[in-house]
Every structure is written in C-alpha cells, then in structure tokens.
Amino acid sequence: MTPTVSASGLTLRYGGTVALDDVSLRLSEGVTGLLGPNGAGKTTLLRVLATAVPADRGAFTVLGHDPGTTSGRLDVRRALGYLPQTPAFHPDFSAFEFVDYVAILKELTDRSARHREVRRVLEAVDLSDVRGKRIKRLSGGMRQRVGLAAALVGDPGFLVLDEPTVGLDPEQRMRFRELIAESGVGRTVLLSTHQTEDVAMLCHRVIVMVRGSIRFEGTPAELTARAAGRVWSSTARDPGARAGWRTGTGSFRNVGDPPKGADLLEPTLEDGYLLTLDGEPAEVAA
C-alpha cells in the first residue's frame, strides 16, 4: 500500500538517555498498532509524529507534508488528530464546549460550521445525549470518547492515539475498539497500546518498540507466526521457557524454545510479542 506517513532515522535524546534511536517506519491507510513495554519510547515517537516535539535527527512526512518547515508543519497539524496519553480536559467545560474549543484550535472559526462539525463528531462517538454534561461528571469511558471526538474534528487524515483503552472496563474497551475501527476507514491511524488484544482485533500492521528502537514491523499474523512451534503446555512451569504461567485449567503455558516432544499449542499474537521483547535481534518483516 502507498505509505501515508514515512519516517527515517528519527533520533531524540533527553539529556543522557535515548528516547528514539534511529527509528524508521512507514504507515499506510488503516490502523497500525504500536506495542512496547513501558519506557520503550512509544509516547515519544507519537509526540514527534504529532509535531509536539522535534526530533534531534531524522525526518518524516505526513500525507506528503514535511513538518521540518513552518508551512509544512502547519499542513501536518491541519491533517492531524491527536489523542494524548491520559488526556486532560477543562473540567468545567461540557463535552460540547470542550470539543468546540478544540475545533477552534483547529481553525474552525465560523461558529455555525464549527457547531455542525462538533455535533457530527459527538454523534460519531455516540455522545450526543450527554453533550451538555460537564466533563467532570462523565465516566472514564465517556471522557475517552470526548477525547476521540476532539481528535476527529476536521476529519483528519492522520490520527494518533496514545493508549486510549487504558483504564476502560471490557465493555467500554470494546466500544472504543469499534470506534477506532470505524476511524481507520479512509485514514491512517497509529494506535499505541499495551493491549495485544487491541492489535489483534483492530490492526492491519503492528510495530513493536523496545528501548527506543523498532524490533518488529509487519502484520499481526507475522508477529503471531514468530511464536509458531514455540508455545507448549506442561504440568509444571518449564525452567527452560522464556515465559510461563499457570492457566485456568491448571496446566502451564510456556513460551520459548520447547523441549523435544513438547505438547505444542497454537500461538497467539501475545506469544509472538513476548518472544520479540525477549532479547531477539531487531527485525523488520517485509
């Protein structure tokens, strides 16, 4: 697919630490998942791509615009929807007022056109009924949807979502996944998450980051395939396994290099992710 976002050699240091280490990637239309442990640099990468902070080195383009120039940065921001990690709101604003505020930041100054757009995005995230409620009175799931509505204002071509499903209960998370899936139609979405289920359910591509570098880039099926023949069941935790845990049935699920004759199990995306984190050399799938 034609890339809509291309980055090469992105490097960012904060003092003596490396937050991004020569990161190159290509995103295309649809939802791309960004997985990685805490401290991997996911949020930093998202903030660089969202033009919140400039990289020390490297370059990227979004929908053909180069944020390295003032006019290019403006064009990128006009094409951007950004939901930061744990977004904060003006608590005294209602959902409508807050999204309206973000619409103004996105240069929608005509009141009537702006209000139509606010209504459209609130309907898209199913919040029309509570539009007049103050944000501080909304549930966590509703607040996240307010944030998503704000990100969707102006129909941006590039949507950056930083761990939007954190703290949501299963029902809220499922509803939010539906919204993200709908948002991915016709636009490029980069979704940072700790939830491998999010990636398995939503994403056509997945990137795994570890310590500021990309360890894997490919499809969810390719990430899952990395664990093929490397997941097995046993009655006790296998000391040779890289990871192992007791399942609900009482048997142990082990991930790593199985012994001969092991009872192999069908791998999941999470198995592939765990193996990718565990000291594997960086690899980018074709």
Partner: protein, 345 residues
C-alpha cells in the same frame, strides 16, 4: 434597528446569557412560540416594526437582522438572539422564509439545528462577546485557567489587603508595599495562563494549527488587561499619593514581558519565579539604600529603566515566538518515564 427591536433583542439576550448547560430557557421560549404561532405571519418589514406595529403585540426580530441571518452574516451576540427568538416565534420563521433564498434558507435551518445542540455560552464568554470579542476567541479565553473567578477573587483580595495596609501606614512619600506587590500579580497571572503545567489541554493545543504564540498572546492580553484593570482600581483607592501610586505599571510590564520571553527557553515555571525573585531582591537592596525616601525603581530613572526593559522584553519575545510552537520542555510531561535508561554513550 428600531428602539423597539433593540428591546426585543435585549429580551432574548436575557436568555442567551444565562450560561446554563440545559435548554430549559429554550423550552420556555418554544412554549411561548406555540402560543404565538396562531397569530399569523407578517412580511419582514411588518415583523420588523416591533411591539407597537406587530399584529400580535409581541416583540419580533428586526428585518435587517433576518436578512443578515439568512445570508449567514449575522454575528454574535445578535446571532444568538435571533437563533433563540426563531425557535419561539412562528411569525419570524415565516418572515425569514420571505427574505431568504431557498438554498440559503435550508443552510440556515441546518445552522439553527446545530445551534440548538450547542449549550449556551457561560457568563464569562457572554460578557466577552458583548464587549466585542469574537465568539471563538471568547472560548479560547474561557479555557484560560487564571480567568476563573477564584483567581480573580484572590487577586482582588490581595490588592485590597495591600491597599489597606498601605493606607494605614501612610507615612512614606510613596505607597511602597502596594507598588512592590502590584507588578507581581500580572506576572503571576500571565505565567499561570499558559503552559503544560497549568493548562490541562496544553498538549492538544501545541499540535493544533493555531500557532502557540498566537494562543499565548490572546491569553496574555486578556490576563494582563484584567490584572492591570484590577491594579488600576486599587490605585484609585490611594488618591492621596496621586500619580506616584501608578509607579507599578511600568515594572509590571517589564516583569511580565521578561518572564514571558524567558519562558520560551526555560519553560513556564522557572522564569516567572526568577523574575519575581529578582524584583523582590531589587526592592530589598533599594530599600537598604533609600534611607526612608522613594525606592529607586519608583523614581523617574527607575521608571525609565523599567520602560526600556519592557520594550526590550517585547522585542525578544517576538524574536523567539516560534519556540512557542513546540513543547517548551520535555520534563514537564508525564511521559518522561517513557525514556530508555540506556545512556546515549
């Protein structure tokens, strides 16, 4: 607009300025509209004649306003008034149809439909719009933390205490306590109106197309104006000192401008603290050398220097304006834990 119509709009303004979240006012208006709907429609000019000339004895929207509304050119707050009135008034809705191009009229109904979804502006936004601020700018200002009532009340209280203390101890040639304190309040207000620490939506604002410097200036002008007005009112409470009581003004501009200019480099917390600390230190040194007379910053020379510093700071601020287009410091974000432990080396 006739006087009668002015009153009609004024009556609607009462509704639009309520600032509530609900639509109860609209419901009342709609009920009123139902009772008036049987009164029949007049043409636009007849509708414009107001209570005296209207067939039903009720106030109606001005014909010129309706034409501007139909063209989509009516600006707030009059736009809000006509929006609200049209919901309630069948004759005016029919009058609107007579002055409108059908295509434009459809757009108008769509706009009205969207408006009905919008909560009414709160008190601060309504006040700002009424004094001529564009409605979108008013909303940006409503999101400014220090324009909240609690902050304004705190500033007013501090000023009141300073005035009382200064007036009670009126033995010196100048109201030193008041003059020392007054410049710090606009500095603190501006520092607290922008930045990742106090603006919860700062990250969203930084990546928006609206230039960070423009947002900073919009808020700074509003906060600075508010602070200077409060200081000015406090000055009026010290008439015995005459113009000497205004010697806070140039230092206030110098401190605020310097604090802002340094914010671009060192973030929003450290510079105001440093500038405020430098001001207090300067006053203490001046006090030690003054021998009971006017402190140096409040003399003609001191005022001249303060004015020059204010101008230089404004120039520097303009030169570094693009720095406000990014986050000023990485350390202010929670995601600083998202950095690798690996050394750059």
């Amino acid at each position: 607009m006739s006087g009668g119509d002015d009153e009609a709009i004024g009556g609607d303004r009462r509704d639009t300025g309520g600032g509530g979240e609900d639509m109860s006012g609209l419901d009342e208006d709609m009920a009123a509209g139902r009772s008036a709907s049987g009164a029949g429609a007049g043409d636009a000019d007849r509708t414009a004649s107001g209570a005296d000339g209207s067939p039903d004895g009720r106030w109606h929207a001005d014909a010129e306003d309706l034409r501007a509304y139909a063209r989509g050119e009516l600006a707030p707050p009059r736009l809000w008034s006509v929006d609200t009135h049209l919901v309630a008034c069948a004759p005016c809705r029919e009058a609107l149809a007579t002055v409108s191009d059908p295509v434009v009229l459809d757009a108008g109904w769509e706009r009205l439909d969207a408006e009905l979804d919008a909560p009414r502006p709160r008190l601060l936004e309504s006040l700002l719009v009424r004094i001529g601020v564009a409605d979108h700018t008013a909303r940006l200002l409503a999101a400014t933390p220090v324009l909240r009532r609690s902050w304004l009340a705190a500033v007013a209280l501090v000023l009141l205490m300073a005035v009382v203390a200064t007036d009670a101890g009126r033995v010196a040639a100048s109201p030193t306590l008041f003059l020392a304190l007054a410049p710090l309040l606009p500095l603190a207000g501006v520092a607290l109106s922008y930045g990742p620490v106090l603006d919860p939506t700062y990250e969203m604002a930084v990546v928006s197309p609206l230039h960070g410097f423009r947002l900073l200036m919009i808020r700074t002008v509003a906060v600075l104006t508010t602070g200077l007005v409060l200081n000015g009112l406090a000055t009026l409470a010290l008439p015995a000192y005459g113009l000497r009581a205004l010697a806070w003004l140039l230092p206030a501009l110098a401190l605020t401008g310097t604090g802002l200019a340094l914010t671009a480099r060192w973030g929003p917390v450290l510079p105001p603290c440093l500038v405020g600390g430098a001001w207090v230190t300067l006053l203490m040194v001046a006090h030690a050398k003054a021998d009971g007379g006017t402190l140096a910053p409040f003399t003609a020379l001191g005022q001249g220097i303060a004015g020059a510093v204010a101008v230089l700071a404004a120039g520097l601020l303009y030169l570094v304006r693009d720095r406000f287009d990014f986050s000023p410091s990485h350390a202010f974000f929670a995601d600083h834990t998202d950095f690798s432990d690996r050394s750059a080396a």
